[in-house]
């Protein structure tokens, strides 16, 4: 792979949640950090030199915010519908602009409508869109969305959840991944038949931007250590530039410890001694790999949420970005990841109380009541989990107004 030099930076932040009576503590911490995270997200514009706007905007009218919902493939559509149902019960002042975009709607028009919608609303909640890897000319919709909207940071916050049995306990790792360049630059060509060249682009600007975001995130959340993941021993220029950019940014944050690790060693350390990691900052592909490894360590695709943050827009989705094609229609998919992502979204737009309310219920059902889907070792169906969450939410919202046009909400 050839590497070139460009200027870019990316930040990513992620939140995780904890449950149970330690769960109460866990939840308190989580809710507090979510508040902080939304502030970091909003202030990312301060870190970057922005061209036109100074702050992320939301389309809010009459007290209600409009959010784009991109359906995706697999279990995306059903999980998004469950999110809307729970929002209804919790009285969340959010309206969804639903857009059907999946692996079979591959035309430019659909992509453009999706982009326009997110640009109009500023926020989106998204299912994963499958990419047909058999067709070389076919661009990945997920990647296109991220690059066109300049969502430079992908944040996955992996935190061990009480009540979810995993081999390693007590984990609290934030993975911040550059989201718009690296190996996903989509620049490939055939030199001669049977020989293909792929360009991996690493730019100083994007590397510095993501490093700065990572350090700011660490500072806001009181984290002590940032580790840069790379393979600069082999990709000396490309990953070397990334590492150098991270080191330069690290020197501006003397209170935060900085170290670096080669990606293969990091993978091994992650499965044997994950407690050593705090905040990780990585280029695109290594971020993909390590996020999935760490998500697997805390419970799998179902319990981790992810967010893609840019200067102007934010898109929330499941942390492992899986479409769950094999789970579609079987009523066994774990809705927790998508629900937690929707709570992150609510924090981002300032509906902290609603986010706390839903998150508390989700965690209680999963950790304390142990209503868990098969991926966590339980026997419940998706619908049973959703119903349990709704039953938990209902008593908390009885004091709300029952008039038809509910624009004013009060929480107990």
């Amino acid at each position: 792979m050839l590497t070139g030099m460009v200027e870019n930076c990316v930040f990513i932040f992620v939140q995780t949640v904890d449950v149970s009576s330690q769960a109460d503590q866990f939840l308190n911490q989580w809710n507090q950090s979510c508040n902080k995270t939304s502030r970091v997200a909003a202030s990312s514009s301060i870190i970057q030199h922005k061209k036109y706007s100074t702050e992320p905007h939301f389309s809010k009218y009459g007290g209600r915010t409009t959010v784009t919902a991109l359906s995706g493939d697999g279990v995306g559509p059903e999980l998004l519908s469950y999110v809307q149902e729970i929002f209804r019960y919790a009285g969340v002042p959010v309206d969804f602009e639903e857009l059907e975009i999946n692996g079979s709607t591959t035309d430019e028009e659909t992509l453009r409508s999706a982009l326009l919608s997110v640009q109009r609303n500023g926020i989106a909640l998204k299912g994963n869109i499958e990419s047909k890897f058999d067709e070389p000319g076919f661009k990945s919709m997920n990647v296109e969305l991220r690059t066109q909207l300049e969502l430079f940071a992908s944040i996955v916050w992996c935190k061990s959840i009480p009540g979810v049995y995993t081999r390693h306990q007590g984990l609290d790792i934030i993975l911040i991944r550059e989201n718009t360049e690296g190996e996903y630059s989509n620049l490939e060509y055939q030199i001669v038949p049977g020989c293909i060249e792929n360009l991996k682009i690493i730019t100083e600007a994007k590397s510095t931007k993501i490093a700065k975001y990572a350090f700011e995130f660490a500072k806001t959340h009181g984290r002590k250590k940032v580790t840069a993941i790379h393979k600069a021993n082999i990709m000396k220029l490309g990953d070397g530039l990334f590492l150098e950019s991270c080191r330069k940014v690290a020197s501006q944050y003397p209170d935060i410890e900085f170290n670096d690790m080669i990606v293969d060693n990091a993978s091994m350390q992650m499965v044997s001694k994950p407690q050593q990691f705090d905040v990780l900052v990585m280029p695109n592909l290594y971020g993909n790999i390590l996020s999935n490894i760490t998500a697997g360590l805390v419970g799998g695709y179902g319990v981790v949420s992810g967010m893609n943050i840019g200067d102007d827009y934010a898109v929330f989705e499941m942390g492992t970005r899986s479409s769950g094609r094999s789970l579609k229609g079987k009523n066994i998919a774990n809705p927790t990841g998508m629900l937690l992502a929707s709570c992150d979204m609510l924090d981002y737009i300032g509906c902290n109380k609603h986010a706390e309310l839903i998150r508390d219920s989700v965690m209680k059902v999963m950790s304390v009541d142990k209503v868990q889907t098969p991926d966590l070792g339980g026997q419940a169906t998706t619908l049973e989990v959703i119903q349990a969450i709704i039953e938990d939410i209902k008593p908390k919202t009885t004091s709300w107004s029952t008039t038809a046009a509910q624009n004013v909400y009060s929480l107990r």
Binding site: N186, M268, V271, I293, G296, G300
Partner: protein
């Protein structure tokens, strides 16, 4: 799409010619996710260079680290078998090192050379010693010397004749 797509196309082509072996394709991130949750579902994995580097270290971490992981590099004209751990200069010459990785790599070499019965005996002896846990080097939680560990394996090999 084109690089990994080409790799995938070639794999499929060869799979067609070996229909008695089940062939499955999986995305790298899905494999990583599943590997840490249930690695027993995997048998043989074939992948390009970078992914192999990362995944092989990941799996080594799952089985106990690089100190017990063998490896081989196969070419058309020859093969090199090696352990993939570091040179450990801090314990060099002190009879403390764990020889398992290099020993199992030698076992792989014997199999490559067609000397499977010998390979089997040595491998079983090595696994038995580790399983018994009486004579282990420091990295495996014991306090024996490298020479003692080796002697134990040799004893087991002699006994198995």
């Amino acid at each position: 799409k084109m690089t990994d797509g080409l790799f995938l196309k070639c794999c499929r082509h060869v799979a067609e010619q070996n229909k008695d072996i089940k062939f499955k394709e999986m995305y790298l991130d899905t494999v990583c996710l599943n590997m840490v949750q249930d690695p027993t579902q995997f048998d043989v994995l074939v992948m390009p260079n970078l992914y192999g580097d990362i995944l092989s270290d990941l799996c080594a971490g799952l089985i106990g680290g690089l100190g017990v992981t063998p490896s081989g590099n196969i070419g058309q004209d020859g093969a090199i078998f090696e352990s993939v751990h570091g040179t450990a200069p801090d314990i060099a010459g002190e009879d403390k090192a764990n020889p398992t990785a290099l020993l199992l790599s030698a076992v792989m070499m014997l199999r490559y050379m067609g000397l499977s019965p010998y390979a089997q005996r040595i491998e079983m002896a090595c696994f038995d010693v580790i399983r018994e846990g009486r004579v282990l080097t420091g990295d495996l939680g014991g306090s024996s010397k490298c020479s003692e560990f080796t002697e134990e394996i040799c004893r087991k090999v002699r006994e198995s004749e």
